[in-house]
Amino acid sequence: MNKTIRTALISVFYKDGLESLIRLLHQQGVTIYSTGGTQTFIESLGVPVVPVEQLTGYPSILGGRVKTLHPSVFGGILGKREDATHVQEMEQYKIPTLDLVIVDLYPFEETVASTNDEKAIIEKIDIGGPSMIRAAAKNFKDVTVLAAKTEYNTLVELLTQQQGATTLEQRKEFAAKAFQVVARYDVAIAKYFDPNATLQFVEASGSPRSLRYGENPHQTATFYGDLTSLFTQLGGKELSYNNLVDVDAALQLICEFDVPTFAIIKHTNVCGVAQRATVKESWDAALAGDPESAFGGVLITNRPLTPKQLQL
């Protein structure tokens, strides 16, 4: 079901890329509510904006820890527009509906990476942000939620094409992405409190890499992790599922050795490995151990490769 957006709550840490969306919302007659820095930013664009304080009747308190945590804000997001009791209660308590919520989160991971100051880190645990995002995503039947700046352009396109409205399907997609943002954020916080927590899968889901196929062509596959921190690819086709499995086996083996070593991996097994004074001699010996199986394998060494060593 299409819903025309009439009101929006915007509160973001990163303002870049936001301008065109705000101008479009203004042009489409949307009432914009905002807080702090975002409010100042919107005003600087010459676009009228209603401070959230006006809704809540409270200023930002406790050093900014409590700004939006108020029934007037959360009622406006969570109220079901087709529920007579909800509508009646919202009227009774003078709660305006909020049709669009654009909120990003305090940069927790960036803060952890840049300081050891626990106090500063703790203050970057966003409370209001995730709460608003979750509330808006929960009520996707009525509310559009954007939890990342990468979605701004998508919404601009949709609102332009659809005369300021979003479809139910689109709102559900935004909700799904929003829940992922919040989940990943919580994982980062949990990892800060316990660095040994085994949360790698959730943590990595921010950058999944779709593979052409899995172990066999009829199987689908995705890699969750960060290859760029491990490698620079200098040539060749895209790494396949089986390549990744073998490359992992190769790396696990090679990190056992300090002296010049050359190894050949086939289907995760070592089919040749040797240690000699030079890479070239190591390669010759590794290959000689089983020249037949080496065909199509994964080769690894722990020394730089030069033309001489390649027998080129």
Binding site: T198, D246, C255, V270
Partner: protein, 191 residues
């Protein structure tokens, strides 16, 4: 090396001239490795869930000379090397090493003696001389058949975790035949 077909080549650095030659094959994947793996946890999907476990780190910490003699320095170096290689082969795993070169391996077999037979066969296939070679096994020898067959093939030193109720049979065979045997107490299954 350039004439041989391989899928992936990983190295810490590629000299530009070498890189240009290697890149002549379009599909060949070349990876410049920036750092070692630092994983301490590994995952496996089973039964619709995920199993996690610590990675199998490290090599021998206990060096129990249980055979007919202690191993010599060359054998010791090869035994340590073979034991690491064995850890990276699918169970049941046998690695035969001589002079820091893997010259025979058996892996992924459902019985240990089959892996050993495969390893010996591989070595013979490429005319490797097993005389004075060493053998690593990822888990204990269930019977004395492995040391027996290894000895017949020319192996002079063994390394294995021990833990079989028939350990003594293998130990006795080594003692009777002047073979070195190291018992580590550290198993390296990889399934």
């Amino acid at each position: 090396m350039n004439s041989i077909f391989f899928e992936v080549l990983i190295a810490p650095a590629f000299e530009s001239e070498a890189l240009a030659i290697l890149q002549s094959k379009k599909n060949r994947i070349l990876l410049e490795q920036k750092q070692n793996l630092s994983d301490t946890v590994m995952f496996k999907g089973v039964l619709g869930g995920v199993l996690t476990q610590g990675t199998d780190q490290g090599n021998v910490t206990t060096w129990n000379e249980a055979g007919g003699r202690t191993c010599n320095e060359a054998e010791k170096a090869d035994l340590l090397f073979a034991n690491i290689v064995c850890k990276h082969l699918k169970s049941n795993a046998i690695a035969l090493v001589k002079n820091k070169q893997l010259i025979g391996k058996g892996c992924g077999q459902t019985s240990r003696i089959d892996s050993l037979r495969q390893a010996v066969e591989k070595a013979k296939q490429f005319s490797a001389d097993l005389k004075g070679a060493v053998m690593a096994s990822d888990a204990f020898f269930p019977f004395d058949d492995c040391v027996r067959l290894g000895h017949e093939a020319g192996i002079t030193a063994f390394i294995q975790p021990g833990g079989s109720i028939r350990d003594q049979d293998s130990i006795d065979y080594c003692k009777q035949n002047g073979l070195a045997m190291i018992i580590t107490g550290l198993r390296h299954f990889k399934h």
